[in-house]
Symmetry: C2
Subunit: 356 residues, 2 copies
Amino acid sequence: MGTPKSTLDPAAAAAPAALATTISLRQPYLLFLGDASHSSRAKTALGVYDWAPEACAAQLRLPDCAVDLGLPELSPAEAAQKGIGSLLIGIAPIGGQFSDGWLPTLFSAVEAGLDIISGLHAKLGDIPGLAEAAKARGVRLIDVRRPPAGLPVGSGRKRRGKRLLTVGTDCALGKKYTALALARALRAQGVAADFRATGQTGIMIAGTGIPLDAVISDFTAGAAECLSPDAAADHWDVVEGQGSLFHPAYAGVTLGLVHGSQPDAMVLCHEPGRTHIWGYPDFPTPTLKVAIEEYERAARLTNPKARVVGIAFNTSMLDEAERARLLADTERELGLPCFDPLKTPLDAVVQRLLSL
Amino acid sequence: MGTPKSTLDPAAAAAPAALATTISLRQPYLLFLGDASHSSRAKTALGVYDWAPEACAAQLRLPDCAVDLGLPELSPAEAAQKGIGSLLIGIAPIGGQFSDGWLPTLFSAVEAGLDIISGLHAKLGDIPGLAEAAKARGVRLIDVRRPPAGLPVGSGRKRRGKRLLTVGTDCALGKKYTALALARALRAQGVAADFRATGQTGIMIAGTGIPLDAVISDFTAGAAECLSPDAAADHWDVVEGQGSLFHPAYAGVTLGLVHGSQPDAMVLCHEPGRTHIWGYPDFPTPTLKVAIEEYERAARLTNPKARVVGIAFNTSMLDEAERARLLADTERELGLPCFDPLKTPLDAVVQRLLSL
């Protein structure tokens, strides 16, 4: 970084990079539920099925499997015949390793011509013989935790189209689901909108994306630029946020994402009662007012019009009366639409977006 | 990042990590000048010799070499006999590749029992046979662009001792030399002080450090924490800055470094006449006043006492009268000691530091 990287012609570099540097998955999926003993172990499959049911064509369960999504049961060969593109490993065992009991299924999938998609810590290419089999059959082994090669340095160039980024007072309080719900609500209004995934489950749902937290720091903003390329003037990219500007470990990732996604609009996510950064008792979460100011200040480096347009609360631990009171009080205090993306309508925030 | 990493006992994790996760080089060096046709090609060797002459015991030149540092000329075998620890590749050919003409020297160095240190883009381990030879001989091939494995996530825990970080209005305007000069000036006053390197040349000078721009973004703050571990209450770590908070590609790296190094003091580096971020004509550099405010705001997340204590100018393109006027005018305007680390005394800023 001491010597700035070449940025001689960022405009010329951006267009092809946007295609080449983003993970791209072959949908629909055959969801592999393996030997999941409980739905908590199949969170990946459940999340993908919840948010992208059209991408989930079938399921494959081993004899001990206690989870059933009610999808057609297909073997890899049957799935390939029906035009399914990939076997998606939908379970997350403790330790993040592949179980020996899965290996016959993984090899059958390759043999049948399916790609294999994994979000586990262990790498598909480390399974003895699988990479060779995949190469011979012409299919891909895709670890969605691994970023694509060749990500560029950020250019700072303003791109066409509109962008929304979900941001947070902390990690792990609903930025992904808020972005998914907003993209869905925009499309329901007839607005062209794409969810842009920055984490592994999001990538599986969208079928494309970049795992931002695994990118080398010099390329974080550039990766965010690749993720939401030039688009039509009235098109919205709804970008999944990561981390928090108030997090002592991850604020840098968040700032790179804010700069690279150059959002026109941000939705601030918060969980009521979260008084401290998760796992960091010495770091209080900011007030909503301070968080709004800081995100707007940060975002205006690459988009002077950036503004927070709404607050998304994760109210899963509140009852209905408490939820209604919180949303009404905060709306009055901050003058912004407030909602819970999984529990209340998004009409007001969508109206606010479309009026920008 | 969606699920926060374990931070159950950050204090317990920090101490051993500080040792295991930092590059450590065996000094003194045999500086390899190769076939350098001009001193501009030997910038690495010149920088290391300028700032760490005590670490440069000898030089090794090929027949065509046009650069001479005036050091004793030793073969790898002679160097090893005299207790030299490493052959340091001090030249940077266009393209960043190893020249075929160097290979006999590199293999001789391994055979003689020297480590080899490189900052080139090409990796030492990719030279056919060299890794095997090094393993057999028990020496190391060290690419200082490659961060150590096992870096932790930032803990945010306040560490003992004092820390100074150099920060900038842009990249490439003197943050490394300012940090080196400050560490040297502190030691000249009898203060215990260490330069902490975050880039490749700095690592070669210090013999230790972490190449921060090559770290995966989730671990940037954690790497900065490892770099300046707990120390005596009156000890100063002087940390080499990277990037700039005002840079559309690198601000995230800078923010992670600011948070992880938790500076008590920052020195702001600027080059007069640099009106825009280098290579980014749409991005103006900030005023010094704005830069001071933004760095202090950012740093106070992990150190509420953080403050800017001086301004370092790169005045290489000014004459003496212009330099004197710039420093005097800026001191009056901002009330902070102003200096050029390579041209003017550092007494005032060192006094300010010691009065904190």
